[in-house]
């Protein structure tokens, strides 16, 4: 672990230009329409006074580079502006809702990976046989279902037709009050508070959206794990192990060890894309997390929120990539030396 600190420091330094480009991109987002950005930020209900105030506040009459620096300064101070719909600070709105989104995402990815990785491995070991073909077809199907329709289809089947699942209307049955906020996850908070009925309802509400995300995330994981495992199985270390006549269990262990790094890297990259799909799933299930809030803002043109949301997602991705790098450092003795 002695290598971790300098590695981490180097990565953090490299992040500065990346975050700068990300901020610039987010800033440019508002300029694409060619409309007055202060009017877009203030929203359609704003009075001329409010627009003028915003223009002065953000220096929107100054040259573009100056505007960017003013905006960047505010962002660094945690000021992402106000939502014109709720009239609250954007950052508070986004962060308040984050636990709900993370709850979905973490559970979904965990289940997707727990199913996807073994299926991909078995596929590679039994390549060309029935299991492999079935797994490939299923993962292709998973690739081909549009995110939002997957959510709707699960709702249709398991709520409307079979009546097994609760309606897709938020995180808790309408009859129950949310538990006192500790983590922001209704399930965990209800368990902490010892309110079993609430916990049960929160868990039931989680099933379908989490299943949607797990399906969306398992499809590429199956395909990728299979490809990685196949290339590892035909690599020199495995050929060497086989030539030595090592038992299959040992060979499998060496193969797994070698496949771990690319699989972890891939799942990290997947996670970034899944935040987008997760937002759509939240939208379909009226989940009320950061994702749904961000999508609503996009649809309604609440541009201060859109900007903040896109920026927050980018920062989240950067954190995920950093975590993946650290994990790789743990898994792979060779990494971090260069």
């Amino acid at each position: 672990m002695r290598r971790a600190l300098p590695f981490l420091l180097r990565r953090l330094v490299l992040l500065v230009p990346l975050l700068f480009v990300v901020a610039l991109g987010t800033f440019v987002l508002l300029r694409l329409g060619g409309q007055d950005p202060s009017a877009m930020l203030a929203g359609p209900t704003a009075t001329a006074d409010e627009i003028a105030r915003l223009r002065a506040q953000y220096g929107l009459d100054r040259p573009l580079p100056v505007q960017f620096l003013i905006w960047l300064g505010r962002v660094l101070n945690g000021d992402l502006g106000h939502s014109w719909i709720s009239n609250r600070p954007v950052l508070a709105e986004l962060v308040d809702r984050a636990p709900a989104s993370l709850e979905l995402l973490v559970l979904g990815v965990l289940i997707g990976a727990l199913v996807g990785v073994p299926v991909g491995l078995i596929s590679a070991l039994r390549r060309g046989r029935g299991f492999d073909h079935a797994a490939r077809l299923i993962s292709l199907l998973g690739f081909s279902v549009p995110t939002y329709f997957l959510g709707l289809a699960l709702l249709l089947i398991f709520f409307y037709v079979l009546e097994w699942a609760p309606p897709g209307m938020g995180r808790l049955s309408l009859m129950l009050d949310p538990p006192p906020r500790v983590t922001g996850s209704f399930l965990l908070d209800a368990l902490f508070a010892g309110r079993w009925e609430t916990a049960q309802s929160a868990a039931a509400q989680l099933v379908l959206p989490v299943a949607s995300i797990a399906i969306l995330c398992a499809a590429p994981i199956i395909a990728q794990t299979r490809a990685i495992a196949l290339s590892v199985l035909s690599s020199p270390p495995i050929a060497y192990a086989e030539a030595q006549g090592l038992p299959p269990r040992t060979i499998a262990r060496i193969a797994l060890r070698n496949a771990a790094t690319p699989v972890v890297t891939f799942i990290g990259a997947e996670l970034v894309g899944l935040v987008g799909s997760g937002s759509l799933i939240e939208y379909v299930f009226a989940w009320g997390g950061t994702g749904q809030f961000g999508l609503d803002a996009i649809v309604k043109g609440d541009f201060a929120v859109v900007q903040g949301y896109v920026l927050l997602l980018a920062v989240f991705s950067v954190v995920v990539f950093l975590a993946v790098d650290l994990l790789v450092l743990v898994l792979e003795p060779r990494a971090g030396r260069a």
Binding site: L29, V306, A314
Partner: protein, 294 residues
């Protein structure tokens, strides 16, 4: 020339034979292409196949379940869902095809030039593409379209430009692999100008990979383009576009009229699947190492 006689005679290219060989090697690609052809036919022949006008409201036949008269039922305006699903194929192709064409038109030259010339432009561009990766593509596409105005043209532009890096990276990596090889060495030695090496010697070698990727990206573009309408951005409900139809269908699921949203959804999955199968199968056919992989 005695040793020349021992070489096997080059096999003549006979299309039906080739097709049969390809089908045997990748049944997946064959099925995908077949399904894709069916959709293309549906789009071209839409006016002949549609039993009703897709936007003709019929107040006497509102929210009817699937029947002999209306195979896929009717929607809240009394419009025939079957006709609308068929017409929706046109929208799917009309957005996805130009978007992918734009991505290729931008991405392939960028990949060729940066891969061959390298240097700081290559470095800056690749870092820029890396930076783009931290934004989830769905959200970036939605946010940009919403900021720029949700017209069909903007949707095509945004999807195409967002997808161009995929092709640029692909072509760049193939060019990098070829650049140090004897092909380029010979081309340079015989005095070919750079543009000729790029277009005549390198580009044809990257076409196959581009083609396989194009099908997969078209599938992505089809799914994403319907997402705009599903969220209510751009194309609005009475238009027979799949995403807009599913949006209307979602509202009526509560009251049991499942057919409004389910049929366009199935059509969407099938088209997306056809494109993915085609792309996946093509990649299989083109990559000798993957051939036996199944």
């Amino acid at each position: 020339m005695s040793h020349a006689a021992t070489l096997p005679a080059p096999r003549r290219f006979v299309l039906p034979h080739r097709l049969r060989a390809w089908t045997r090697r990748s049944p997946l690609a064959a099925a995908g292409v077949l399904l894709l052809a069916a959709f293309a036919l549906l789009a071209v022949l839409a006016p002949l196949i549609m039993p009703y006008d897709p936007v003709a409201a019929d107040a006497a036949a509102v929210l009817q379940a699937p029947s002999q008269a209306h195979w896929f039922g009717t929607d809240a305006n009394g419009m025939d869902v079957f006709s609308r699903v068929i017409f929706g194929t046109l929208y799917a192709f009309a957005i996805a095809l130009p978007a992918v064409a734009l991505a290729i038109l931008v991405g392939v030259p960028v990949g060729l030039v940066t891969g061959y010339l390298g240097g700081w432009t290559d470095e800056v561009l690749m870092r820029f593409f890396d930076a783009l990766r931290v934004f989830p593509s769905i959200i970036l596409a939605l946010a940009v379209v919403s900021a720029a105005g949700a017209s069909v043209v903007n949707v095509v532009l945004v999807l195409g430009l967002l997808d161009a890096p995929v092709f640029a990276r692909l072509v760049r990596s193939e060019v990098l692999a070829l650049r140090s090889g004897s092909l380029v060495e010979c081309a340079v030695a015989t005095g070919n100008p750079v543009w000729r090496i790029l277009l005549v010697h390198l580009m044809p070698n990257t076409l196959q990979g581009t083609l396989a990727q194009a099908a997969v990206r078209a599938s992505w573009a089809v799914r994403l383009s319907t997402t705009f309408a599903f969220l209510g951005l751009g194309i609005q409900p009475p238009t027979p576009e799949w995403g807009a139809m599913i949006r209307q269908g979602a509202e009526y699921m509560v009251t049991g009229q499942w057919w409004i949203g389910v049929f366009p959804g199935i059509a969407l999955i099938l088209l997306s699947l056809a494109l993915n199968m085609t792309g996946d199968g093509l990649a299989d056919l083109l990559d000798p190492r993957r051939r036996s992989a199944g």
